[in-house]
Subunit: 214 residues, 2 copies
């Protein structure tokens, strides 16, 4: 059992950092493998270059992609995730979507030949047979009901249906900590405990997640 | 009358670049002011730094923001847009959303104290009284109907309701060139003509846009 956590927040005293620490702690405590990529700490460049885009087009040709033209950090992340049972994405919601760096992670890591192959025009398949589950943890100041009705749960549509379901990932979970600015310290601590609990089990079936939207 | 165009595509032979050229041409021909920011050409860094995030928090304090802690390119873009009647965003849809660099534009330019001020907890107001209109032009390989039903028109919800409506921008238009990969050269040329036509008029009321979704 191995999980990979990809997180992305510029402030080391943020709720996102507290969640990251909670996830690391519970994995240490339970002796479960966890690979962590902090996009800010590693100064991941989210911009897809022309060279990388050319490789994207080449992926469908007979030659396939030339990995040397890709960002080595993106290649490393894809390899680690391909060896994982679960991918955890953790980020704040800014303007109802992920920060630029997390979008760049999607653009550059969820890449043909690296992360998936094209079965047909609209069908894709993950390179890995191991990766069965994606958990997305978000924090937002927007109230949950407003995010769902007014903003169409944009992040859920884009990541669940627009990305991971396309790739054949079976289990997709979304844990959304909404109205964060208006929550007491006590309430936030309860959230952290809930997140720890969600990753306590080493088997998928034992996870007791309470996502706000599926 | 002045417009600002912000665009974002790594490949100089892309449809996006052809659209950019068409927009520039029609403005030249009609002698209408157009300021262009090409995020790739200017190597815009989309990552919000810790320093910038601190300024975000300071925006609500009495002192307000310290512009020197922000990205000079973001400051310049905000100033140009504030002096414009219309903002045009042009980008490809990757994984059902904008590329990382365009998300970084939203995060760093649509910034408190620079682009808007907070009227109350949930109410914001553009700094500029001039900016009345935002036109978003996107290209995607996904068929339009699929994008709307399966992927919840994520980009529309995030940009229209989640960003510009919040800021009080009255007119928001979305021109979406879908199924691009399956379109003939002839059809694409028709799209280009349509876009030129949409920007031919110098007055808002004269614009003859045919957005696929409002």
């Amino acid at each position: 059992m191995k999980r990979t956590l990809v997180c992305c927040h510029p402030y080391d005293k943020s709720l996102n950092t507290a969640i990251k620490s909670a996830i690391i702690d519970v994995h240490k405590k339970n002796d479960v493998k966890l690979k962590v990529f902090d996009l800010y700490e590693s100064q991941f460049n989210p911009v897809m270059s022309q060279k990388e885009l050319q490789e994207f087009s080449r992926a469908r040709t007979k030659e396939g992609i030339n990995i040397e033209n890709l960002d080595p950090m993106a290649v490393e992340m894809a390899q680690e995730i391909n060896e994982s049972d679960e991918l955890i994405l953790l980020f704040p919601i800014w303007w109802e979507l992920m920060p630029a760096q997390m979008k760049g992670f999607i653009d550059k890591v969820i890449f043909p030949g690296l992360f998936y192959s094209n079965v047909s025009e609209f069908k894709m398949k993950s390179v890995s047979d191991k990766l069965k589950k994606v958990t997305v943890i978000t924090t937002m100041n927007t109230p949950n009901i407003l995010y769902r009705i007014m903003y169409g749960s944009s992040i859920n549509f884009a990541l669940k249906y627009g990305t991971f379901r396309k790739l054949g990932v079976k289990t997709y979970r979304w844990m959304n900590l909404s109205s964060v600015k208006f929550k007491s310290q006590n309430k936030l601590q309860k959230y952290l405990n809930q997140i720890e609990k969600a990753f306590q089990a080493t088997h998928h079936r034992d996870l007791a997640l309470t996502p706000t939207a599926s």
